[in-house]
Symmetry: C2
Subunit: 263 residues, 2 copies
């Protein structure tokens, strides 16, 4: 039995998220069907974490176990020959001893994308959301810095979640502008369900002048979801990468991976 590690990219628009659901088109289900066809086995795929319906991935990581004689690095081209156009395997390799796509993950990086425009732009809407052109991006950038550090992020936890440990460490959190595009990039050791989308909604409230940048500190301190912003729509969110190397400097706990659904 070999454990194969896949790095894959998908356009989440037409998937009902990562996780297999009966009668729904999901990334995990699409991969498992393709792998079962290739290997003749019943293959079960484990991702680094779930992503929600409509959320994209530039480089998601997943593993599966197989007795197939297909060389590990050949799975990528073999899968790409049969997978639909909205999911692509960037690489495949044999996993080192003890590798687990979810439990071995040390860091993840997400990006939330928006654009400043008075009207909806069809060429942007698939991967970003429109925000008012008067939005103050420099205030958002200031507010984003308050997210760095080890915090109880229950203020950014979807209200229907029952997760126990809501403490996570954020290593990087920044907002920047390129022309009319605005990006929020956040890197951490794990993310709560909807955490990035709610954080983005909270930063947007700052950009709209509804709360001052420092209010993000208070929102975090009060651990109250109702103080934070709305959950931003899924299409702006992309999982950029999952890191399995040595922990980043300053990492304090071993809560690697993300047992939750997509942030």
């Amino acid at each position: 039995m070999k454990r194969i590690v896949l790095t894959l990219s998908y356009d989440g628009t037409d998937f009902c998220g990562w996780q297999v659901q009966p009668e729904k088109r999901t990334v995990q289900g699409t991969l498992e069907r393709a792998l079962s066809g290739l290997t003749g086995e019943t293959v079960s795929v484990t991702g680094s974490g779930r992503t929600d319906s409509g959320v994209h991935a530039a480089a998601q990581v997943a593993h599966f176990d197989t007795r197939s004689a297909i060389p590990p690095e050949r799975f990528a081209p073999a899968l790409n020959a049969v997978l639909p156009a909205d999911v692509s395997v960037l690489s495949s390799r044999e996993g080192e001893e003890g590798f687990h796509a979810r439990f071995s993950a040390k860091e993840k990086t997400y990006r939330y994308a928006a654009y400043l425009s008075p009207v909806e732009l069809p060429l942007k809407n698939r991967y970003a959301v429109r925000v008012d052109p008067r939005t103050d991006v420099s205030r958002m950038a200031e507010a984003a810095e308050y997210l760095v550090g080890t915090h109880d992020f229950s203020c950014f936890l979807a209200s229907n979640s029952s997760v126990k440990n809501t403490v996570r460490t954020v290593y990087e959190s920044r907002v920047f502008r390129r022309g009319e595009d605005v990006f929020f990039v956040i890197r951490g050791n794990g993310f709560l369900y909807n955490m990035v989308r709610i954080a983005a909604g909270t930063l947007l409230r700052v950009g709209e002048g509804k709360i001052p940048p420092e209010a993000v500190k208070e929102v975090l301190g009060k651990k109250d979801r109702s103080l934070a912003g709305i959950t931003m729509p899924p299409q702006g969110l992309t999982l950029l990468s999952v890191e399995y190397g040595s922990p980043a400097p300053g990492k304090e706990d071993e809560n690697g991976g993300d047992p939750q659904k997509s942030p």
Copy 2:
């Protein structure tokens, strides 16, 4: 009767191009139906030029005539309320005396987008085409410069075209790279049918080392379509803008507008 000028953006993926065709979903047809609904008139829309099936527009320009009492600038929000998500009106205004979306156009700017990758990337494929990562972009940039000037572009004319005058002036032609993305931007007083897509295919041959950059000069001189590269796929092409101001410095003829289908 008022002439209203629209600036609009569309994602060409699900349109069979600009021009009305029976039983097909086209941008012009979609606009005409929406305008007829708004005004109660039978409205006919004229674009600055056609774009082919699958070609996008960041800022296409079109006009129509109406007796409607709707104020010119209110057409944009009124149309956006009824148009599908893949076409959006950026602005509307009353046209100055004699304005014609096609015949008054002085310049157009197109962009052809590619990305360097060994595998297809689902998050890029909607608006760009994959090219081999070994492609030499600096050679393409060198070759692109040969397109600037007034030339007979019959070498870049689709073989099924019957256009008479194949001389056009290109003011700007450059290839540049941003990370894994490669862009070819070309601005001129008019473009032949498929001209930009064939020019992009010819530059790609240079980037692949199949012909030297200087060969583009020869291809132009010999006026022979068979010497040029392939017609690149439509999804990489975007009409960036149409200019109606005074002609650019160095413009030599008055061949404004583009009586042809999309370049």
